[in-house]
Amino acid sequence: MTPTDTDLLIVGAGPAGMAAAVMARHCGLSVHVVDDQSEPGGQVWRAIETVAATQRAARLGAAYQVGADRAATFRSCGAIFEPQCQLWQIEPGFKAFTTRAGRAGKIGAKAIILATGAQERPAPFPGWTLPGVMTVGAAQILLKTADSVPEKPVWIAGCGPLTLLYATQLLAAGGRIAGLLDTTPRARLATALRHLPRALGRLGDLAKGLGWALALKRAGLPTVRHVCELQAEGRQRLERVCYRCDNGRSGEVAADVLLVHEGVVPNIHVPLTLGCNVSWHVDQQCFVPVLDVWGETSKQNVFVAGDGAGIGGAEVAEIRGRLAALRVASRLGMLSEDDAVAAARPEFVALARALALRPFLDALFAPRLQVFAPADETLACRCEEVTAGELRARAAEGRPGVNQLKAFTRAGMGPCQGRQCAYTMAHIIAAIQHRPVAEVGLFRMRPPLKPVTLGELASLDEQEPAR
């Protein structure tokens, strides 16, 4: 089978992917974009095409509605867009393997931009696998894509801007919040304020965040501060949430749905599988791909743009997308280096300005250490149901690395391929063996990146010419 050939393959049609596609097309490159969702928009503008035409777009906020215009521009830029398409491997050359509607396909590309965004930081605690426990992001997606809210007043536990944003959106939609369990550690604001001078350049954003906080305060929601321990309980589904604060105060509340959020981390899966170098981001306790100013990884012609390059938000994502596209265009001879640099100059300036708030946010919402040290009975690996206690016991026997720990316990062998457990495993080994987490690392990611079926893989062979 002749693979579909393109100059540039973009994985992900969120802010970064769309901006990259538009810029690349503007430079005259052929562009192929794949995304596992059915519409463009990524997470921040999820379902924007469906929702934008309805009344509920207004209560989702202006930042969300911006996506409608972006999606329209993207749709008309002349890129090939394949929705509901899962990318499951990229081989050098490049040969990208995808599946769509039960059939596997190959895309040949000269350059790749990975714009697969971020995911919520896994923050395991006892009972987190009970039906009724979900991420704040999940609830926001339900609001956007299905106009749905929790039936009963919801408990929200966590730390970070998304928590505030969703709470505001939920109240605006007529949903009910039972209370907030704020896990932001004490004195965190004081530490973050070090970065305030630089952050003042983003006064608008600061004001926005403050606005959310004030709105919630005005709503008079029960708020428990400095929560450091959580436990979800119930028989076969969530019934109660137990919490403990850093001052020893504890409580128990009835709950039908608990939403949790402890920040977001870049989707590092694809860069790791491709063998790109990664570095450890100390504040945010996560790996980020090593990138040059254009967003190129340590693998030539593989770029990362958007939150996958480091959490920055939609505006930053779009700038990074355009920068990567400009670089690819000059690399492939569609643009002189001088022209690329000239076009990039204002982007770099805008990027620096847009990133000004990051150090403040990163410090304010740095993950608390309890997130990485769940109680023994916690299912650290949700898929294979391996407890943190078992991981600790095995990590203390000899000095296994993270790949060995995976082999011995099966943690990381389930369908999520470590997306929900790899960081927890690394932290547990680091703690038991007194090693820095950055040195422990994540276990080797193995393809396929998405769970392609045997039939879909077999269909690749049927497409080969008869031998």
Partner: protein, 376 residues
Amino acid sequence: MNVETFDVAVIGGGLHGLSSALHLARAGRRVVVLERRWTGRHASGATAAGVRTLNRDVAEIPISLEAMEMWHRIGSIVGDDCGFHAHGQIRVAESDGNMAALRQREARVRALGYSHEEIINAVELRRLVPALSPHCVGALVARRDGAADPHRTLLAFRRACETAGVVLAEACGVDRVDRGSDHWLLACGERRVRAPVVVNAAGAWAARIALLFGDPIPLEVRASMMIVTERLAPLVDPVVSVVGRALSFKQSDQGTLVIGGGLQGTADLERESSVVDFTELAKGARAARDLFPAVRGVRIARCWTGIEAQTRDHLPVIGASSGSPGLVHAFGFSGHGFQLVPVVGAIVADLVTNGTTARAIEAFTPKRLTAQRVAA
């Protein structure tokens, strides 16, 4: 400089190295295992763990049959049953032509005095493997064969070694070898190890190790690919292979399908890494689906390749070095070494303690690989 002295240094912490160390320790020797990365890092960590006497080269049959006896009491050897289940290994014929080839094989093996391989017809085949596609006409079966759990096996051999007093030195690759008066001096980074006897169980790197000892042996590399699926309700008990196709198909204790068969990815010996070639692997998925139609919608959890050694004739190298003193080789299992692990350790212990073994290893002598080279 601090030099650690042992009776035997085993180079390579895979299953053959661990098995050798275990048997030697139980024979009263002070043993160290020198492993460049960690135990089971390469071939032993990537094996499908088939426990098979079926369809082996006739030269391997005697030691394979002895190994099978050991597998049936593996708990008494390493203190864990290693997840070994003996539901049989089956080699399926899809056509009458394939069936004829199987009959020939059975006759040949029988003529040599072995009875472990048996021809079965379509009815018996259906009974043993109900999920198999109805187009299959018959098979060759070894009923006492089966499969084990690779990670449990590795852990069991490792723990048994530790209990027996073997020193396991990981992150300890041999970089330099010097000959002393009656011993070898091995340099592993800052560490120095002295031993009169060395066992070369270094897998795909065994030829490089052999060269350090002044014993050049030609060796190639394999990178067999594997597929593991999501967990399924019980579907198949025996391990199934197919005449004329690269397919090995089994179901693990956890319910996952483990699909191999020898399709090759690419290996980089220098970087110790290997890469899956999905265009090739698609053939394996197709074979799996052709033979087991119900699995077309089963999800793949992960795929990998391992790095293994392969010899020109696909037989292992087991025996004392012909050129260098105090050196015993145990490598080159060419993709089918897992089942031989228990007996190879016993053979190595024989060679070290007695200088000889009663087990049939003539066909595995390193000389047969070097002799032709000299002639050329």
